[in-house]
């Protein structure tokens, strides 16, 4: 099952054009917001799917693993991830897609990523205290916002649709500016 999902995920990313660093970097320059649209539509689709499958009794939410929150480490990790994404023009998933598509930049990013993983593993002893700091346990958006689960789902859908409209507007503006 995991293998099939992995293949489907990689195929979908590649078909969406996310194996191209040029397209991904456009996200940071607000000229091409494909990444935002693909990812946020995936989030909205999955959120609606999980909610309704659970609502219909087809999915036991108790069996769904929720990662724990470690505030400071995850903020720092996100910052490092963002810097690396902007520099490389690829994130871990899309770098694998790019490498599989035969792109040399993808292969180099994958290699760099594994070097980073190895370096972190080798120095984990020194990092462990920080790595486990700021533990907040697991909590979900409904718990954080003190709102019913269904209401949060509706809010996310509305925010996603408004975001898509804004993204289209930004892309049109960038295209008009580039054509001058």
């Amino acid at each position: 099952m995991a293998f099939a999902i992995g293949i489907a995920f990689g195929w979908t990313l590649e078909r969406a054009g996310l194996g191209s660093a040029k397209k991904l970097v456009g996200q940071f320059y607000l000229t091409d917001l494909t990444v935002f649209k693909v990812m946020f539509s995936a989030i909205a689709t999955a959120m609606l799917g999980v909610f309704w499958l659970a609502r219909l009794g087809l999915l036991d939410l108790g069996q769904v693993w929720i990662p724990q929150t470690f505030l400071a480490p995850q903020l720092v990790g996100g910052l490092i991830f963002g810097c690396g994404f902007a520099c490389a023009g690829l994130c871990p998933g899309t770098s694998c897609v790019a490498a599989a598509s035969g792109r040399g930049d993808g292969a180099l990013v994958v290699a760099g990523m594994f070097c980073g993983v190895l370096a972190t593993g080798a120095s984990f002893g020194a990092l462990q205290t920080f790595y486990e700091s700021g533990a907040e346990g697991t909590f979900t958006l409904p718990e954080l916002l003190h709102l019913p689960y269904g209401v949060v789902v509706a809010i996310v859908v509305v925010v996603a649709l408004l975001g898509f409209r804004l993204a289209e507007r930004l892309e049109r503006r960038a295209a008009a500016h580039a054509s001058r």
Partner: protein
């Protein structure tokens, strides 16, 4: 096509807002403070004892806690025996269902939430209001160093700590 998908998403999202929580909600089963107290007493700290996890702050855990409770610090991990009963608790208003769901997803088959949290432990075990005949409640309360109060009587100042002694109390 995009407009159609957006309309479908809006409809499903709107219905989600009014349809109520998913069933089953994934809410873990609860355990009352008295049942937990009985399980801790009967387990004598052995492998049949419930694995109790305190999800409050370390300061709160240091001040008072359910006997045998471990403070959940850093990554929340349960015992190696996935069949052992886990009981989680926090303050009454702290949502811990997600933590319980995460432990269940990690393979722990018996995860419970202490109903009412630490407040319930204090009210029902440490300072319970009892009537004649509530022998089980009185026995459990005294086992953990609690101070039962007569129902309807005046409140009694409690000097007993909520933390039970490390070993069961012996007789006189």
């Amino acid at each position: 096509m995009e407009r159609t998908l957006a309309a479908i998403a809006l409809v499903l999202g709107g219905l989600a807002a009014i349809s109520g929580a998913p069933q089953p909600s994934g809410r873990p089963p609860g355990i009352s403070a008295l049942d937990l107290a009985a399980a801790i007493r009967d387990g004598h700290g052995g492998p049949d004892s419930p694995w109790v996890m305190d999800l409050r702050s370390k300061n709160e855990w240091g001040e008072r806690r359910v006997p045998s409770a471990q403070h959940a610090e850093g990554p929340i991990e349960g015992p190696t025996d996935h069949d052992r009963t886990l009981v989680l608790y926090a303050n009454a208003s702290t949502p811990i269902e997600a933590t319980a769901a995460s432990l269940r997803a990690a393979g722990y088959r018996r995860v419970y939430v202490l109903e009412g949290g630490m407040d319930a432990w204090l009210d029902q075990v440490m300072h319970p209001q009892v009537s004649a005949g509530d022998d089980r409640v009185i026995e459990l309360s005294r086992y953990f160093g609690g101070l039962p109060r007569a129902r309807g009587g005046s409140p009694t100042a409690v000097a007993t700590s909520a933390v039970a002694p490390a070993r069961p109390r012996g007789g006189c």
